[in-house]
Symmetry: C2
Subunit: 332 residues, 2 copies
C-alpha cells in the first residue's frame, strides 16, 4: 500500500508535534506544510522542528495553492479551537478534495455550538467527496470516547462519571500557563473572562456522551475554579508560590430534568496527586475503568491526530465524529 500523502496545516505546538510524528510513520508521507506565521513561512520543516536535517518540505503561507499543487490524501489540521475560525480552511479542504483530521475542539460535536457552520461544512464535504473529522485527547478520547466505548458491554447505563487528573507540573509550559499556574486569583479571574483560557471542550465532551449514548440531556453546564497551591512548588518552567493558583478544576454536567446523569471532573494543576483517567458507569453490569498514571496529554494529542489519518481516508464522505468513523489505533 502506498503511504498516505499528508499536509500539515497549522504549525503551533500541537501541529508541530503531529508533523514530527507523521515524519516517523512509514504509512504516511508528509508532503507539505502550511502556516501563515512570518517566522515559519519559507523554512524547511526539518529546521523548524530542530531535526538537525532538512526534510524537503517548505512551509507555505498559501493554503489553496499548496493543496491544489500537492493533492494530498489528508491534512493534519491544527489552527484553532473554534469553528468560526476554521470554517474557511475546512471549506477549502473540501473544495480541494482533501480529507481532514482536525484538532479543533468545537468539531467534536459540530452541531452543538455551530449548527449552521456544521451544515455548511458537511455539505461541502459531501460535495468534495471528503471526510472531515475533529478529534483529540480531551475532548475526543479521555473523557468521552473511552466512556462511550465502555458502555458497549452493558445492558443499560443510568449515569456516567469521568475523572481526569493531570499533574500540570509534568507538562509543557503552554499547558501550565493555560491552567493559570503561578497566577494570583485576581489574574486568574481576568484570564477566565477572555473565554480562551483553561480547558476548551468540556461541554463538547458532555454533548458527545449525551448524543452517543442517547441520554435525553436537557441541560449542559460547566464550572471552572482555580486550585490554590497549599505549598510552593517548582516545575521545570516556573514556580507556584503557596497561595497562588496551581491550576484548574473544571466540572461538566449533563442533566435530565435537573438530575445529573453525566459528570465529567477534570483537575489540571501543578502537583495534582494520583494522575489518572477514570470512567465509572452506573450500569448493568457496573463498569470501572482506569488508565493508571493517566493519558499524557501533549504526546497523546499529536498521536491521536496522526492515528486517525487512515480512518478519514477510508470513511464515507461528510463531516463526521469519532463515533462515526472506524476506531482509532496506532498507525505505523
Amino acid at each position: 500500500m502506498n503511504p498516505l500523502r499528508v499536509v500539515s496545516f497549522g504549525l503551533g505546538p500541537i501541529g508541530m508535534a503531529a508533523a514530527r510524528l507523521a515524519l516517523q510513520k512509514k504509512s504516511v508521507q508528509l508532503v507539505g506544510a502550511i502556516d501563515v506565521h512570518p517566522d515559519k513561512v519559507g523554512k524547511d520543516l526539518g529546521d523548524l522542528l530542530d531535526l538537525g536535517r532538512k526534510v524537503g518540505v517548505t512551509v507555505d503561507a498559501d493554503a489553496e495553492s499548496s493543496l491544489r499543487r500537492l493533492k494530498p490524501n489528508a491534512i493534519l489540521h491544527c489552527t484553532s479551537s473554534f469553528m468560526p475560525q476554521v470554517k474557511d480552511q475546512l471549506l477549502l479542504a473540501a473544495r480541494c478534495g482533501v480529507n481532514v483530521v482536525s484538532s479543533t475542539e468545537e468539531l467534536l460535536v459540530p452541531e452543538f455550538q455551530n449548527p449552521a457552520i456544521a451544515k455548511e461544512i458537511h455539505d461541502a464535504a459531501l460535495a468534495g467527496g471528503v471526510t472531515i473529522l475533529g478529534t483529540g485527547v480531551n475532548p475526543g478520547y479521555a473523557m468521552d470516547f473511552v466512556a462511550a466505548i465502555a458502555t458497549a458491554v452493558t445492558f443499560d447505563v443510568t449515569a456516567v462519571r469521568c475523572v481526569r487528573v493531570v499533574d500540570a507540573g509534568t507538562r509543557r509550559l503552554p499547558l501550565q500557563k493555560k491552567v493559570g499556574a503561578g497566577l494570583t486569583t485576581g489574574e486568574f479571574e481576568q484570564q477566565m473572562a477572555t473565554g480562551k483560557f483553561g480547558h476548551i471542550g468540556m461541554r463538547e465532551s458532555v454533548a458527545m456522551l449525551a448524543k452517543a449514548l442517547a441520554f435525553p440531556v436537557d441541560k449542559i453546564e460547566q464550572s471552572v475554579e482555580p486550585v490554590i497551591a497549599t505549598e510552593t512548588r517548582t516545575t521545570p518552567f516556573l514556580t507556584v508560590q503557596k497561595g497562588q493558583v496551581a491550576g484548574i478544576r473544571n466540572h461538566g454536567y449533563g442533566k435530565v430534568l435537573g438530575k445529573t446523569v453525566l459528570h465529567l471532573d477534570l483537575a489540571m494543576y501543578v502537583g495534582a496527586p494520583d494522575p489518572r483517567d477514570e470512567v465509572i458507569l452506573e450500569s448493568t453490569p457496573p463498569i470501572h475503568l482506569k488508565f493508571h498514571g493517566g493519558i499524557a496529554g501533549d504526546q497523546a494529542t499529536a498521536a491521536i491526530l496522526v492515528n486517525n489519518l487512515h480512518q478519514v481516508v477510508m470513511a464515507t464522505p461528510g463531516l463526521k465524529t469519532v463515533m462515526d468513523v472506524a476506531p482509532p489505533r496506532l498507525c505505523r
Copy 2:
C-alpha cells in the same frame, strides 16, 4: 427514527440473552426468531425466555422463509463458534439482504483460519449490499479491541500484554463446565482433545491485534493448562474438590522472529482472585489500563451483540471486523 427490525438467529444461552436484551430496546424491534431445536420451534419467545408474557414472536425452524417474510434490517446470529458451520447461514442472510451481528468467534478475523470462506462471505455481502460483523467480549473486546483502542494515544508500541482474570465461580454453569471446573486432570485432557472445550478465540484475539496494529507477527501460538484447586470451593452450581480442576489458564502469543510482542493471559477458574481486565502497552507514552472487577462475560456478550446492531446497518457492505465499523456503544 423507526426501530431496527431484528431477527434472533440461534437461541442457545447467548442468543437467548441477546434476544431478551433486544426486547428491552426502544430502538430495536424483535420481529422474529429462528432455531431448529425441536423443543423451541413453534414456541412464543416470551415463553422460551420465561418472561411471563407472550411477545408475539414464534420460533421458526426455516431461516430462509423467516428472513424473506420478515425482511429484517439485521439478525442477531448466535449459532456456532466456527466459520464452516455458519457459512451457509451467513450466505443466506446476504442473499436475503439482511445485515448480521454474529457471535461466531472465528469471524473476528475471518481470513485468519478460513480465508476461502471469508472471501465467499465477503463477496456475498457485497452482492447483497449487507454488512456482516463478528463480535463478542472475548474475543472481540476485552483482550483485543480495548488494547487496540488504547494505542490510539501513543506514538509507537513495541509490545502489548492483556490480562483477563475471571472468577468462574460467579458465572453461569455452562461457563464453569467449559473451563472444566470439577473435572479430574485426566477428564480435562480428554475434553481438551475435542477442540471445543475451554476458551474459543484466543488466537483470533492475537491475530486481530497483530493486524490492527500492523505488527509483523510471524507466529501465533497458544497454551492451555488446567488450574488445580488448592482448596475445596462450592459455586451455586457445583463443587470443586481440592485437587480437581478449578478452570483454565490460556496464554496467547504473537511473535516476531521468536520474540513475543503480543501476550494475552487469560485465567478463568473457580475462585480466581482479583477479577479484572488489564491492558499494558510498552509504548510511548506507556499505557496501563484496567477494568477493575473485570468485564462480566455473560451479560457483556449479549450486550455487545445488541450494541452493534445500529453499526452494521449504518456501515458500508462487506464482511467487516470490529476495527472497520463505527465504535460500539450502548444502544437504547
